[in-house]
């Protein structure tokens, strides 16, 4: 009995010893491989923000990996507001925004981190108004959009826009969650800072908006022009009832003829240095700007490209 117990204890002891040794072993191993892999020093750039830009940012990160394999770029979305919030906290290196930082946000960033956020225009986007592909409507004015979307607006039915739809007459409004830069941009420029009418379907991403509209014949919504699919149609938009409506094309977005065009921005804390600067320079070069075009957005004009 005692012998058995002794044997048992020894067994446990040996097992613990082995486990501890194993732990140390892997610990050492890990350190070694980490040292070998880092070479000149592995760098990670944290990048977060706009959902409108998340596909673009990912495409940049993948492409940049080929140019600079030692730099890891971690991209996440969540909305411009979340990107800015993270920048203010100092947890990321670069925030993507589909709207400008507000003065109070810049103040907060200065107070929290001691550095002034620096803005880079990395491309342009036309905010497209989408409807289902079978919807006969082609044009829409700001006034009509405000009547559809804004609090106190009168339009709730397609027949009030002179459109007859097979799927029903009620307009299904698709919008974005309130952290979205697209949401704030639309509110500021189309609704004139008035609030949204309650009861819209608030989607959590640019892609979801377009998906829902593609599946809903009576829906209308807004999202970046890069998210257009075969299931939806982009409307021509005019800022005033008399003015000619323009389509969300690259030329119209750059020339300003399209009324809801905006800049796509990246913010860093203070002037970027080292690898972050190299990355931003690359984004603003012809190579990086070509990717902007490939993702469905409008690149900066060639004379503004960095060499």
């Amino acid at each position: 009995m005692t012998l058995h117990l002794l044997f048992h204890r020894t067994l446990v002891f040996v097992a613990v010893l082995a486990a501890t040794a194993g732990l140390f072993q892997t610990g050492c191993g890990k350190r070694e491989s980490g040292g070998a892999g880092s070479g000149a020093g592995k760098v990670t750039i944290q990048n977060k923000g706009s959902d409108t830009m998340v596909n673009l940012a990912q495409a940049w990160a993948e492409e940049y990996k080929k140019a600079a394999p030692a730099v890891d770029i971690e991209v996440s979305g969540g909305g411009s507001g979340q990107g800015i919030a993270a920048l203010i906290k100092g947890t990321i290196d670069m925030a993507n925004c589909s709207r400008n930082m507000k003065p109070q946000e810049i103040e907060q960033a200065k107070k929290n981190t001691g550095k002034e956020p620096k803005e880079f225009v990395v491309g342009h986007d036309a905010l497209a108004v989408y409807v289902h592909k079978d919807n006969p409507i082609n044009e829409i004015t700001f006034e009509q959009l405000a009547d559809i979307y804004a609090e106190g607006g009168k339009i709730t039915k397609w027949s009030e826009l002179g459109v007859k739809l097979a799927g029903g007459d009620d307009i299904v409004r698709v919008s974005r969650q309130s952290s979205s830069g697209t949401y704030e941009f639309f509110r500021e420029h189309v609704l004139n800072k008035k609030d949204f009418k309650l009861g819209s379907r608030d989607m959590n991403g640019s892609k979801e908006v377009v998906e829902l509209i593609a599946g809903t014949p009576t829906a209308i919504g807004y999202s970046g022009m890069g998210y257009a699919t075969a299931g939806v149609k982009m409307l021509k938009v005019s800022a005033k009832a008399g003015q000619p409506a323009t389509a969300p094309t690259s030329e119209n977005a750059l020339s300003g003829a399209y009324p809801i065009a905006r800049s796509l921005l990246c913010y860093t804390l203070g002037a970027p240095e080292g690898d972050l600067k190299k990355y931003l320079d690359w984004i603003l070069s012809a190579t990086g700007q070509k990717i902007v075009g490939d993702c469905g957005y409008v690149p900066n004009p060639p004379e503004k490209h960095t060499k």
Binding site: R201, D202, G215, A219
Partner: protein
């Protein structure tokens, strides 16, 4: 074998273990109080803000947390959303869940029983985001096709998804409750000439009442607290529903969608925590009601 006195370390270890177990028992109370305290501490300052009123919070359906002209924090539409989705889910899940529990426990053979139990447990293990995805893609298309609703993400969709999520809980706990009824009850019932169905209806259900009620209430708890699946399946529209095909937003989904962007310690942030306190109170009332009902049953 000769009897020996226990070594002192064994006595000490036993005492220590006893203490640890004692602590484990009390830890639940400490955690609940701690969570309530911290959530309430963050929420509290907003109650004294001049542009916040509690009656508006509870009885207004206007939710404009980021408005530039007129900020309003009313969660009535979301309370209505939470209750409508939960109610529908329970209308579907309770009959199905209890029926399945009765079948598994009383009517099916042992081989089928084992298979069913494994599958039901598998159903419980599906992550909620996967349920939400099913609601968003598969269910929404089916709902549009069969009901002619303009949008497939609505109360019906969320209710069905939540029902599917709570059924496994109701079945496994309900089955345990039925299994706990002593076999002598069954034997006595059958000996008196009751049919199998009469036995279930007249003997087993009354005997297992408490356990079955607990099963249902745990299902309700799951439905009220579920976040990810309803966020994806209900359409996320701030709107008091007129019908089963309307989109709604639930309290939990609203917190999940907005807490990330609300600046820390802003009023918006605190109001979201206050919504948490509200959810806490709802579950507390549900649990308390259940407890009182069970006590009432016991007294009879």
């Amino acid at each position: 074998m000769q009897k020996r006195g226990r070594p002192s370390w064994a006595v000490f270890a036993e005492k220590a273990l006893e203490g640890i177990i004692y602590l484990c028992g009390f830890s639940a109370i400490i955690f609940v109080l701690g969570i309530f305290f911290f959530v309430f501490k963050v929420a509290l300052p907003v109650l004294f803000e001049p542009n916040f009123s509690l009656s508006q919070f509870l009885f207004s359906a206007e939710w404009y947390p980021t408005s530039e002209s007129n900020v309003r924090y009313g969660v009535l539409a979301m309370i209505a959303g939470t209750f409508s989705v939960t109610l529908l889910a329970m209308l579907i899940a309770v009959p199905f869940g209890l029926g399945a529990a009765i079948f598994v426990s009383e009517f099916c053979g042992s081989k089928l029983k084992e298979t069913l139990k494994i599958i039901i447990e598998l159903l419980a293990a599906i992550p909620s985001v996967v349920w939400g995805f099913i609601g968003l893609t598969v269910m929404s298309k089916l709902i549009v096709q069969f009901t002619g609703a303009p949008v497939g993400v609505n109360i019906l969709n969320g209710g069905i998804i939540l029902a599917l999520m709570s059924v496994p809980i109701i079945v496994s706990i309900g089955e345990d409750a039925l299994k706990a009824v002593p076999d002598s009850y069954r034997e006595a019932g059958l000996a008196l000439g009751a049919t199998h169905w009469q036995l279930v209806y007249r003997v087993l259900l009354p005997a297992a009442k408490n356990g079955l009620l607990a099963a249902v209430l745990l299902g309700v708890g799951r439905a009220v607290g579920e976040t990810m699946a309803v966020l994806m399946a209900t359409g996320h529209a701030v709107h008091i529903p007129d019908g089963i095909l309307d989109s709604v937003r639930t309290l939990t989904a609203n917190i999940a969608a907005e807490l990330g962007e609300a600046p820390e310690n802003s009023n918006h942030y605190r109001v979201l925590f206050l919504t948490g306190v509200l959810l806490f109170s709802i579950t507390f009332v549900v649990n308390l009601a259940a407890d009182l009902v069970i006590r009432g049953i016991k007294k009879k």
